[in-house]
Symmetry: C2
Subunit: 258 residues, 2 copies
Amino acid sequence: ETSVIAFANQKGGVGKTTTTVNLSACLAEKDKRVLLIDLDPQANATSGLGIEKTPGKSIYNVLLGEGSLREHIHPTNIDGLDIIPAEVNLAGAEIDVARSDNYLNRFKIALADILSAQDYDFITVDCPPSLGILTMNALTAAKSLIIPMQCEYYALEGLTVMTGLVQKLRDNGANPDLIIEGIVMTMYDIRTNLAQQVVQEVSAHFGNKLYETLIPRSVRLSEAPSFGLPITHYDNNSTGAAAYRQLTKEVLQKLALT
Amino acid sequence: ETSVIAFANQKGGVGKTTTTVNLSACLAEKDKRVLLIDLDPQANATSGLGIEKTPGKSIYNVLLGEGSLREHIHPTNIDGLDIIPAEVNLAGAEIDVARSDNYLNRFKIALADILSAQDYDFITVDCPPSLGILTMNALTAAKSLIIPMQCEYYALEGLTVMTGLVQKLRDNGANPDLIIEGIVMTMYDIRTNLAQQVVQEVSAHFGNKLYETLIPRSVRLSEAPSFGLPITHYDNNSTGAAAYRQLTKEVLQKLALT
Ligand SMILES: Nc1ncnc2c1ncn2[C@@H]1O[C@H](COP(=O)(O)OP(=O)(O)OP(=O)(O)O)[C@@H](O)[C@H]1O
Ligand SMILES: Nc1ncnc2c1ncn2[C@@H]1O[C@H](COP(=O)(O)OP(=O)(O)OP(=O)(O)O)[C@@H](O)[C@H]1O
Ligand SMILES: [Mg+2]
Ligand SMILES: [Mg+2]
């Protein structure tokens, strides 16, 4: 059974791409077969894995019913990790898909044949910082959601919007089985009171949904994408690599339990 | 003549809201009459200035032609600074405005009576992290654009998308006079090579558009919003307050020159 996990949070810059890329690489390291789908027109996950963005070549047409997702699968430098890249023209899908029928299920329909082939253990989906058509399509298709979250005040404000949306998608039948897999705190700086307060606040409201692993702020994590590499390949001994390996262990443990 | 400045960058978390709020407060401190318009459904600028978000009360209807922007003007705790707040229902405008006629000029039309009354010296507009309908409306209505930019690799990648878009809006006649007022580097950490490299890269490509003022990473800046205050009122003697005052001086100097 393939796990389909969306990485979403409408708050910008909270570590969605960094978490999708590095968790996917760590899952592949544990011999899971992983497909990362970049659903953000910024295409940061695409360049973060060293894949060239080809102008005009994205799954835009697939979301409008032409062609298949399978044609867009590329290998990466990481064994066991494939990618479906994004490109800036994907932004056009926000408007064109919005005007089409059944506009929330386009991605889910496109994903069906890859899911039935069971080629992958995990499909991870990086989302843009908005609750527009692309993110809504990801949340309708996914089985679960991981919410990366900065240890900041503005990020805290946005968390209830996200959890409220998940409840709405469950209740209105768009995705009755969607669950929040977990909330992961990123860019944690132990020296600041703010970070500790935010973690306490999230833990008080969301208890067991909060992963124990806190991803520390580490400049190595923000350097790695400029080399097109996940942290495990850029700096194997860094605190960032250790944290994402720890998170991966925790994600796998929790999945085994559900 | 009222200056209308949009603060936009589709990359998330680069300091758009922090720059809009603090620059607006510093302009008011210099006895400019300022109106901040929060065009982001996350409504971070609204809460960053201590304004309650009223469910269902945003300029959503105004963008669809009902009522006027003037009705939504609220005072803030800061002398000389008014706000038009946002609310999560503004996200619905992305779809509804997209389906209406003349969908790019809705905000520009709504702004016309405030501009003709010349009540303000500055109108500042905080944008969401996307190039959707709300940001496009802001860029069509604005006279100039300030691009906040993190000293990070992913933010560097997105900069050319932003500058390319400005050129397109000028060329296709949507906003022939739109100029880039400037690019401001935020969360600058002098200790990291990455930050220095990114600043050098931006300076090499965009030369005189890059403000000399670099906003340092400072936890006081990220604490201030939780008290609903700009940095000048939260911690008047912080490096963040000094940096935004310096930036304000630079912005005013450059405006006087154009
Ligand atoms: N733990 C970390 N330590 C230091 N820097 C980090 C960390 N995680 C992410 N970053 C950096 O912070 C910035 C924001 O992270 P990222 O781009 O992954 O967030 P995002 O939520 O995907 O952003 P967007 O909303 O634009 O999609 C990036 O430049 C990234 O390199
Ligand atoms: N110079 C700074 N030093 C430290 N923290 C900062 C600084 N500027 C902004 N921040 C914090 O970084 C986070 C991102 O900033 P902000 O929310 O202003 O960015 P944004 O571009 O408006 O994000 P979005 O794309 O979600 O609208 C916020 O939590 C903010 O408090
Ligand atoms: Mg991202
Ligand atoms: Mg913002």
